[in-house]
Symmetry: C2
Subunit: 272 residues, 2 copies
């Protein structure tokens, strides 16, 4: 079995992959989220795994936009706690003048950086692994996962430097197939109103869910490309596509000319 993930090696996505699938498979590192989608679309990989949402930073826009245009299904989800570390060559924090990190990781460690390294220059890089790779001298540091310390022979100078101890990222597993029905199933949908400027259109598209007593777990809007200030809505709700109340809601939306794309049904994640 082959699984593509948003790399490079040592990324949080790879940590999620190993937590979900274990070690007994071929892990294929991809450069971008788009590359993960393409590898599954072209059957070069059986599954793909990409981040979709962080509890602190919010949605991963690129993943949402690619889901709009792809036939790939959401097979499952998994979430992991994000523990950021400061990685260095030196053991002396006072020597650090430059810190490399993906801008999102800088965002997650703002407070810690202000309190501990207020004068260090923050240098954005495309991935935390790229940051780790750059470190050659004692005045450099990077932010990233614990696993980068082993991969790039660096010191774990500080652990858990993220501002929020609730910092969790949710990943989706992409595939051509769907899981068998489970007890605590949830559904991911993309809903495109005919015209989101129209009076109460959002209310109208949510009404069938309320009427059928369907529990909404999440709503997220994304701009509809090429159409100024129009949006599509990503909705997660409880239930399974075979359930009677879900089918009723889908039929009502269809009658209202509201387009619904089903991304997948999978067990609602219980964090352990």
């Amino acid at each position: 079995m082959r699984v593509s993930y948003l790399g490079p090696k040592g990324s949080f996505t790879q940590i999620a992959l190993t937590k979900y699938f274990g070690d007994d498979l071929v892990q294929v590192s991809q450069k971008t989220i788009g590359d993960v989608f393409r590898s599954v679309e072209l059957n070069d990989s059986d599954y793909g795994i990409v981040p979709i949402e962080n509890s602190f930073e919010g949605s991963v826009n690129n993943t949402h936009d690619l889901l709009i245009g792809s036939d790939i299904q959401v097979y499952d989800e998994i979430q992991i706690r994000i523990n950021q570390c400061l990685l260095t060559k030196t053991n002396d924090i006072s020597k650090i003048e430059m810190i490399y990190s993906h801008p999102q990781s800088f965002g997650q460690c703002q407070k810690w950086l202000r309190n501990n390294l207020p004068n260090a220059q923050l240098i954005p890089v495309l991935s935390n692994s790229e940051g780790a790779e750059r470190i050659t001298s004692d005045n450099e540091a990077c932010i990233g996962s614990k696993t980068l310390a082993n991969l790039y022979s660096l010191n774990l100078l500080n652990e858990n430097i993220e501002d929020s101890k609730e910092n969790t990222t949710r990943f989706v597993i992409l595939s051509h197939t769907q899981q068998d029905k489970s007890d605590n199933s949830k559904i991911s949908l993309i809903i495109t109103p005919p015209n989101s400027d129209a009076s109460g259109s959002l209310y109208k598209l949510l009404k069938p869910f309320a009427t059928e007593d369907i529990n909404l777990l999440r709503i997220e809007s994304r701009p509809l490309r090429g159409q100024l200030w129009r949006y599509v809505f990503f909705i997660d709700c409880e239930g399974h596509i075979d359930d009677k109340n879900i089918q009723n809601a889908m039929n009502t939306l269809d009658d209202l000319d509201i387009n619904v794309k089903i991304l997948g049904c999978y067990p609602s994640y219980k964090s352990s």
Copy 2:
């Protein structure tokens, strides 16, 4: 009059500032969106201006998160078309090996870059102005606004290289004061449900708007910091806070224990 903006000089925010306020005032460049908020909060500036939403990339998360925690009001909004250019020292595109840009601008020019400079190395920087500043040789280029060409003595090698011709950014003007009532007023609100996991909570908070026939213009969710998978909702709707139907809706939300923060009332922007 002093107005703080998200700099550096030549940023799209400065272009929006000049379009809105004209030239007859002191423009104060700030390093971050947070610095713009602080300068208004501390009365160091009369107004501030920051980006809030791009029609292609979606919401500017930082602006939304700062609005949650600040007492600053939204005084007005303005939007401008984003025209990205390729800026260079050279006139020969085949010499370009490295391109500097803010990651968001790379995102806006993906197609053009793939078609025209597929082998160039993309180097992320904190602002497009920083990218322009870095260019010293013929094998370097940057992406950014036309105004950077004059500011940094660069060639406008290609104009309008953005993928979407609908690429528009909306900016908000921050202030301690509110405008007088206008005819085509809109309201910006932040709504925090008591518990967004509860069945139909989103539907419940939208119902008072539907009952009172209030036109929703936009909804955007952001994670509630420190509370896993709970969200606040940013809502723009038509009307003025003095209108009877708006007051009815606010009272109903209050009865339901749903917290509402009014960010501001201002004229609905008509793009020219």
